[in-house]
Symmetry: C4
Subunit: 301 residues, 4 copies
């Protein structure tokens, strides 16, 4: 792909090579949907929490004391409330933690690992990958992995890009680092193998979706973009439950992305508990993202 | 209309010729609402899917791997899920496909045509017509038609402008190409004849409406415009059903625009199935946009 | 108020004269809430329709054929649907019509006046008053009044500023034109007298509210501001009904602002009909804005 | 923290000192959640109203007559409607009033204080603290305190920053002024002690949350940011009630922020009344923010 040519032309003027090259950069390959789940479970449930805490504001300059306090809420109130529920139902989940958030709240990460949860890579300070040069992105991702390892004693095997912002270099870096999976893309509802410039990478994609992200409905941004928590919690529960019901019907994967300072609000935390209770009742297999990815790769149809 | 004059003045300073000229550019003429539908059906139902796939991101530069993966979802999961439902209820529908999306997914288009569905023109790479010079718009629309024809073996008879962005030249080009209908405008709920600078064109308009478009309620845009899927699926179903009920009451046309990567989500696909089931039960006439346009022109009251 | 001084300083640096002057420009004076309504009705209902039609797009340059077709829908489908309902329940209402929309659709205005409805001033081409110099605003408002008079044979006695955009000169111009009322401001739910720089004007304000405006919930804007019709019609009905119920309880005024291309959609028109039916059942007094304003002035407590 | 260094680097390039310094500027310290509430009440309820009135528009230049009239509504209709309900249920609440709003509506403030309610500091003209130099912020906050004192005869003991916009200097100024509490931050749901650069200040934080703010769901902004009151009142009630129910379950604090021109609309005022009725029925302790802060400090577990 000739980048110079690409940038000089408008998309409707591009030659076929240009748009084919872009589409093939990082793409879904063969499906990794297993024929059955462990113990004959009717579906798999992979819960995840992006523990951004103060980095949500730091990445933008860190000037708002109010938003920094919102970040602290995630550690002070949010994570303990999540831990209580996961413990009550004996469910293991995945936490994606920017390195700076892990350094600010090292005890939280150790406690989670001790309880059997997974900690995955989530950037250095929740930076956007797509505006970074390759070297900086690579350096930050490696330092993030090292930081999490030195705090928890366990090296992460998977990642989620901050804001699901996957750059043209992200997959190549993941391959170089030997990561087993990513969870930031959306080409399917079930796991698949990622292709780099058309070639299989052995990296599993455990797909996300905006539909299954609490921030989509509940985020508040006072200035700039007009984001407000317009959707009532009862409707958000209904949406998540419909996603889960169809996964049960198909024998597929139900993956959910949450944020400690969002889902744990007193008016919302019941959504998480009720989903877990309902899926448990149906016999779903609960697992960390790492476990789901490993199982999917080992048991692809 | 003196374009120079027009551009130098503010709208409240325009002479009457200016605003009359703008209003008359492409306007609704005589109604083409038939007195009755085939077989005495109580209403007509025209379902459409805009299969934009990766062109949704390519048209804007193609830099987001995440949004490209969303586009691939349309082909990988979305269209097969739509096909299954249309097949189950034996319903034929219309698919509007940018040429680049058709080239990326040629098999999909051939499969749809083989099953009796219609493929209509939807631009080259989902470009905005209103920012193109006449020559470029004309060239892209003609190449799009040729591309679809060479892939499917059938020449399209109708079009939908990408983003419903109808330029001052679009109607003239449609006339030059001998197209039978367009489906991008909103001056009525039933078919009508389009006037070009006040003169009948014989081109049928099969009107759309934002109200009957899934993306309006469900679109997500992380950066830039703050779009979020705030409206619960149950409410979207209620809106679509009210539109359908009134069409049934009036003996009119119920037209619906959907997108493969949006309506097929596990929490939403039931909306489509339930609408079809309900309209079938009421005895509605299901037809492609081309069939509705042809029938409306032949049977205008 | 020293405008130069005002513009050179930031609001928190303003002297008291500056902010007092701004607040006093056009303000609510004595209440004109009557002790009772004609015939002992429990409340008054004033329905209004802003018949902007194509001027909604013309005011911004008139370049979108799609939005112009949306405007034509207002005349072609919207107003006839409204007329049918008003006629069925024998209700008189007020239509605010930009002069250009009246010139494009003169028959519509004559038909409405013949049926006993009111036509009020709504600018020349739906321009924003606050960006006009005094002379231009005055000229456009006077020409608008003359245009409506020459089309319908009746001189308007009231006005609604386009987009409720009331400039610092609007009230002065209304006084100069001898208008009896305005309906664009929000300092109360019942009628009041407007003060110009602190002095009574004898002009009645018949207040509006965003809460009682269909466009607030239903407007769609594809580009620029991210407006989507996120609120379900059933909820919009619930909001309007709660406003009406409280007016019934208080013996106050229920004023509603609608738009022909918005409220008349097949999935929404029932809201208008059901509100009328319900208020009729409760014995409400239906009147045009001109009638309510005249009654309020003559019967202020 | 080296500010020069900080500004020259992008957040992902910051040294550890920089992000640690930002996070520590004003942070949550020890919890001040009491073991029990007065009289063994199951929870505390702290209602607040931000009486911004015309300052909502004046702070932005004061050019919109319409938005100024909206502000006047707060004084003319809103506050009296609130007073009636608080009086009916014998509930005391806190009103945060910009000095300019207090000067425009001095009688309102005196009436509220006479009825036993609290008036707290809310800036001079609802300015944003984060764009002010330290000296200006300090001067405005002190003049605001003096103005409220001279109008009501009572010196405020607490504050709420306008728009919850807490600058890096706000806490230091609050300490210098000897304020007992702030109510603008969000690191917890219960009271806590604020730390300034890591050191205890003895200032109580009585936390707010966007979730418990009426403007979040109901604000309307015609131009600029696309804010619309998309969430139905019944859903807003449901959200507030869920927050209250969980506070009851935990024995915590339920704090609510409202605005006189928003919550008092005829279709919304029932939300406030119904919440009070429900909490009264449950035996909650209603108190002003000042009373809650004092009790929390005196009875921290």
């Amino acid at each position: 792909m000739d980048q110079v040519n690409n940038d000089a032309l408008l998309p409707w003027q591009w030659p076929e090579d240009t748009w084919r090259g872009l589409v093939n950069k990082a793409r879904a390959g063969r499906t990794l949907r297993p024929q059955s789940w462990p113990g004959g479970a009717p579906c798999a449930v992979a819960l995840s929490f992006d523990s951004d805490h103060e980095t949500n504001e730091l990445r933008d300059g860190g000037k708002s004391i109010g938003r920094l306090s919102w970040g602290q809420f995630g550690n002070r109130v949010g994570i303990p409330r999540v831990e209580k529920i996961l413990d009550r139902y004996d469910v293991k989940a995945s936490f994606y933690v920017p390195a700076v958030a892990a350094l600010l709240h090292a005890d939280e990460q150790r406690r989670l690992v001790a309880a059997g949860h997974e900690i995955g890579i989530h950037g250095w300070i929740h930076e956007l990958n797509s505006v970074l040069p390759y070297e900086a992105e690579r350096d930050l991702m490696m330092r993030a992995s090292d930081t999490l390892t030195s705090i928890t004693g366990v090296r992460p095997v998977g990642m989620r890009t901050p804001s699901w912002d996957f750059s043209p270099h992200t997959l190549r870096i993941a391959v170089e680092m030997g990561l087993e999976y990513d969870s930031s893309l959306m080409a399917d509802e079930d796991c698949y193998e990622l292709l780099l410039d058309g070639k299989p990478t052995n990296v599993v994609e455990l797909p996300v979706e905006w539909i299954r992200d609490d921030a989509v409905y509940f985020m508040m941004q006072r200035f700039g973009q007009a984001l407000r928590p317009y959707t009532p919690p009862t409707d958000v529960f209904d949406i998540f439950k419909r996603e889960l019901d169809y996964a049960l019907e198909e024998g597929g994967l139900f993956q959910l992305t949450m944020h400690p300072h969002i889902i744990t609000a007193r008016s919302r935390i019941w959504i998480l508990e009720e989903l877990i209770r309902y899926a448990k009742e149906k016999g779903a297999w609960f697992a960390t993202h790492a476990e789901v990815a490993a199982y999917a790769r080992a048991n692809a149809a």
